[in-house]
Symmetry: D2
Subunit: 454 residues, 4 copies
């Protein structure tokens, strides 16, 4: 039996902080205690370090296809980037391919994900809202895929009728709907107007997706949740008004949940006024917003309205992918790299705003695990849970830069950001995969996570 002892760490869970030792056996936490008297093969001294449960990034996209057939970064590089960044579990959004069943899409995806350096599960993006898809939902649930993304915008948007139908079924199956909430038709109209006027630069990506188009769609998604009873996560909320609607809905007992991302908390729409094509780096949906939103979003992060902070990672390269759409902003691939720095960015800025350490753990690990059926295997430090652990040095410093990142992308939206605190060691099921901030693991060691319904 393989065993390891971590001594004298400052252990942090979503509710507790205490000093102690962690005994790991066969990849699981066997015991937590003071001065544990055990013999183990290996011992780590964690004095002066925080021990967090491994980060869970509940919203990432690997190998996203672009209009020219190229694809964004995949598991071979960016699952390593996740690990180095303190994330030991990712939930990747599998895209239902045109004309294919959900299962076929998952099956093909499973091939790619075998390379993963960390554990992973799948959400499914339903793009074919037909009977065939509808009828295979229970099969997917059996395979451990219990959450589905429904788009209210873009080409793959569902109608309200389709949303209602699928969300009603999710309620029956015990699944969660993850909603991309933007108003498809208004955005499409504004896009056409801008392009027809010759307004083709990245700036018009944001101008064609004004705040009310998100707020409206969030309100509609809440209505669908209220009427179907379906647990509904509003993905990547970018506006304080949208978040406020979610909070009000919670207060009325509607089963809605809020996710936001580091870029909405830290970056704003001035990025769309950069010279040349630079703004294309920040083309993502919903777009970056007026900084007036910061206060409301951070208040939700600190006080409870936000349930999850995820990266919405898309590993695009500026030199190739983002050059698409130079003549038409609509062709710029939507998304930006973020898997590697989510954990550190939220730690750093959270601390600056007085966030409690337990709240940090809750947002980046425990809540995602609970909401998406991974708990208690993942998301906490407790006997019986997987020994996915982050040893974090609060005294060290780092500077984010594309040059030194593991992410395959040739840029980061957070270039030259200074961060207080640094990930030192990462354990995945008791195996050290990051040491002194460097990846020391092996590709393909990640396991597929079959998720349960709530």
């Amino acid at each position: 039996m393989k065993s390891m002892l971590i001594r004298n760490g400052h252990i942090v869970t979503a509710s507790d902080q205490f000093k102690g030792d962690i005994l790991i056996q066969d990849g699981k936490i066997a015991a937590i205690g003071r001065d544990l008297k055990v013999q183990t093969l290996e011992t780590i001294d964690a004095l002066g370090k925080y021990i967090f449960p491994g980060g869970i990034d509940a919203h990432i996209h690997m190998e996203v296809p672009c209009s020219d057939g190229s694809i964004s970064a995949g598991y071979d590089t960016d699952s390593i980037a996740a690990a180095v960044g303190g994330t030991t579990t990712i939930l990747d959004y599998v895209l239902q391919e045109n004309g294919r069943s959900l299962e076929e899409s998952v099956s093909r995806w499973s091939e790619k994900s075998k390379l993963s350096a960390i554990d992973y599960g799948f959400h499914l993006i339903i793009t074919q809202a037909n009977d065939r898809t509808f009828n295979e939902l229970n099969l997917l649930v059996e395979q451990g895929i219990t959450s589905f993304k429904l788009f209210m915008a873009n080409d793959i948007a569902m109608t309200d009728k389709e949303l209602f139908r699928f969300m009603s079924e999710f309620k029956i199956q015990g699944c969660t709907a993850c909603i991309h909430a933007e108003n498809k038709e208004i955005i499409a109209t504004l896009q056409e107007q801008y392009v027809s006027q010759g307004n083709i630069s990245p700036t018009y990506h944001a101008k064609s997706r004004p705040e009310p188009t998100e707020v409206e769609a969030i309100n509609r998604a809440i209505t669908l949740s209220e009427l179907t009873g379906c647990i509904t996560l509003i993905a990547h909320i970018s506006t304080s008004r949208g978040l406020k609607l979610v909070q009000e809905a919670k207060d009325r007992g509607i089963p809605v949940l809020a996710e936001t991302c580091p870029h909405y908390l830290l970056l704003s729409e001035d990025k769309y006024e950069l010279e040349g094509h630079e703004s294309a780096k920040y083309v993502l949906s919903p777009p970056l917003r007026n900084p007036d939103n910061f206060e409301g979003l951070w208040s939700g992060v600190l006080n409870g309205a936000v349930n999850i902070i995820a990266s919405d990672h898309n590993g695009f390269y500026y030199s190739t992918h983002k050059q698409l759409g130079k003549e038409d902003f609509r062709k710029i691939p939507n998304g930006a790299p973020g898997i590697e720095h989510r954990f550190s960015l939220i730690y750093h800025h959270g601390m600056k705003r007085g966030m409690e350490l337990s709240r940090f753990v809750e947002l980046v690990s425990t809540n995602p695990a609970k909401i998406f059926g991974l708990y208690p295997q993942k998301g906490t430090i407790a006997p019986g849970s997987d020994a996915d652990l982050i040893l974090f040095d609060p005294e060290a410093e780092q500077v984010i830069t594309a040059k030194n990142q593991y992410q395959k992308s040739d840029y980061t939206p957070y270039e030259q950001t200074k961060i207080q605190g640094k990930i030192d060691t990462v354990l995945l099921r008791g195996e050290r995969i990051v040491y002194q901030g460097k990846y020391v693991g092996t590709l393909g060691k990640g396991n597929y996570l079959k998720r349960t319904i709530q």
Copy 2:
């Protein structure tokens, strides 16, 4: 020159109350004063009576077609009912007929309305959201049709894209959008579910249109108003939450307006639990609601959130029209008679709740005139305005009953309701058309009102 003097009335406008005389010349108000020294052909003593400006019912439907080809009551009877009920101007919703241009539809409608006993104008219900319709909007505006109804529900619903397109154009033309705000797709889905389960009685009309389907659509309409800048009247608001959204939008400077109807203020969903097919009498859209809504709606009536109270009159007969749909609630014609009692019902219940007389005038006459481009010709008592006047006896009493009504319908939703106060005399442009509560006018004397843009 034809002249008339009304002496010693208690004159009420949207801001003022005073005792005085009104001199009418050639159908217009020539002067208002104390003890006017003039010789006129005719004199009316109004001592003890309120003199209100003629009521304006800004939302009525004449000759609505049913699924069996029959039609609801028309101008020949119900324009008289309006007159007797204190309404001297109606705005009728002309339905764009399938495959026809707006102008053709108006043209055919103009034939029917020639019979009208009172003055009238038209809104247009756009059912064909195509280029041809789009391109004739300015023509309609020239003809004095400056408001258009857009449906978000039912078979004639527009998509958000179409709504955005038309509302953008209205903004340019200076027109007003009147929105039927309910979520088409959710309602259609719920209807199908109920019918497929054999739930076909009128009760399920209401159950398939739950409150969130209205609130959602109102929110979406507000979003469209915010983004297009189009002046937007939310028609027949039935929920206090919906009205609250409108008030919040006004506070943010969005050009939205609120209309509600007597039935939402006075009747509630218990009407859908009546025996036999009786509940069909109350099948209208949006449906009657939980009485929890009364407080919020009346607060809006008294304190300012509501701009207009209209009847949404549909002159259906219970013995024929409402029998359609006995096997399927979806076939019951939507609507109920109300043109005759709007004025008295709101007066009576308003007084009971402490409404000021001027606020009553504002809601039933002045605001509709101002909002829909009829002011100052209509909607007030001022020199130069049409002499459309109601002499109202606050001491008299009446009981509403289908038996004695002028409306052609064989029922009224307000059967046996006692009303304090009674309309005694109605003048249309200086002509007495109602005397001692009886119609004494001539069909066809009503004029078409060419409306102006705001």
Copy 3:
């Protein structure tokens, strides 16, 4: 019988606008009409001019005593300033003098006010919350004093117990409470802290009265209104949060009313950062605020939350009165001159923000008249009302400057403000007292107004 005819004006009331003539007989409006056929002693051609009802400034202070025994400007000058500024009625706050009965205070005040150039009524500031004062309230009501100011701050503040007692009695008597809503004790504490730290400049006047001290007191005043049923006007609201509380209370049916002043709509706290002692000019209570409040306050002005705009005029001189307190901001007399420019400032800035003319009339004339028992004698243009009329030239321009003002003060907070539109002629009960912008009346022609209860 004295008579006058004003021809062809653009007449504006709180609900109507129309072109017409006004016949005045014996100081009252006898008739309003088109092309009135009458012979009068005098005729005024008002072509191209707005005719507004005379302004009513419901909140002014004449002859306010300072700590050195000097007093602010009085009726001899500032009632003329009011007239020139479009105000034909003022409601002056009589201060109950220390140790005196209300009646004695009114009696002494009545001597001073005999000089008034315009009509006037009194509110009473109760400073002695004892039985004697309590017992003479009904006597005051008989004398036409139907509103009483109660302070929640400053040396003359009442306790909650006293407020409750007096407001309960007002409810019985039908009177209105005008509340100065700031938290006495917190402000006093902050003042002491600042002064003890040597912070004695005018800046600390504002810092010791932070926004929450107003918002808290407004909330408490609303609670007292809710529990006693007393009609309660919150005077001089300076914060958007405070105004929002009043609106919410109205929505819940509580009889509260909102007053604000031009300085809270147009000036902000940067005035407390001026060089030397200049900031003393802007020392008033509540103080000028963060400009973040503008949006909410103006929204209330445009959309209905605000009932009255008054000047809160205090005719202090910078060269003498405001020099008091150079060593201690607490000794600077609180208040600033404003009686002369309220009407024009609100007209000018209202038009710029899209205010309707009728709403302007409502705020500066009709609502004050109705709320304070002067209507319909004052506050409108209707047969039987006093012929207090403003002929206003919307094409003329003016620049506000202390040099040219009628106000006795040696400064104005609005120095060099350009105004579109100008008062040309003012009639007081049919007498021309301002002509071509100049005062042409006679001191002492103003009448005392005995007010009625609502």
Copy 4:
């Protein structure tokens, strides 16, 4: 070294649930794990049982004096009742005695509390808001008393000035203010009115403390927290509007916290309509409210607005103490017994409303510990924490009845309430003090808890 092993429990903390063993050494938790391999003196099999951290009742009153000199139940009985009811730590409100220093009061209290069966700490009720009291605050903090109760109502109420002064000092010292938020003066006035009208029965206790008197005071307390920066717990919130104000303040970043009690969640004002003097049993402050408040309060319990649920225990006897005030409701001692059933009542009703077990633990144990400086010694199950543990049988049932209670009171407000789930075993620092629901401990074993500042 004394040791104990609890095997196979379902361990619940404020964020986690897992199956496992707990090793206790020397009264502290030494380790938590799966199948711990250790030898201990004693082993408990917890299969099928929940293991919760010991309950912390953060608001109780022991030995409260009545007007006739008698006192309510004390430590000798009611600390045992707490233990049997799942509470291992109490925070007792020490009343500063008239004319005495805080320290003298604490010193006298410490004598009484020596009897305690469970651990205890003190809050201090400041009744003498003078310099002497002010100057000894830091001394109290050194003694581990870090929270102070300030009354806004009743005879011992502070003025706003005093509140501001003390809360400013708390901010400096790092202490927490616990506020009894009701408006003293309005309540006193209403009480006088009722009594003078001969309305002396318990019903008028509630009528003289209407909801707005609480809501107003909560708003004022929030204002004081905003201006001083003092961490402020609003004690025993009884109204949903009051709780909403606290939530809004949190959203604005103000350091306020909300406490409510089982009786506000479960009982309502109909208890004041009982026959005879029975209603006196429910005379407590704030009083029981309209059941309209339940929804908002429970929403706060489930969704996060509420931080703590405490009992506000007062061990009065109906047969003696509550008979006081038969001739004047003001003399009825305020309060009711509740220490014994808080834990079970909230468990039972929480489960019925879908509360998560971790949220239950947070409200009744972890949050009180964190907020009041007892964490991590108390309030959780983690290595190093005191082994205060509750073994709870979710399958057992109990019926609350005064006959069988340990509380000394001769009644309980929850007579005959059925509860699903039952406390089986209670450990205090590793010592079994309750076994099979019976007290098996020894009086005087409770330790005084010196608390830390946040």
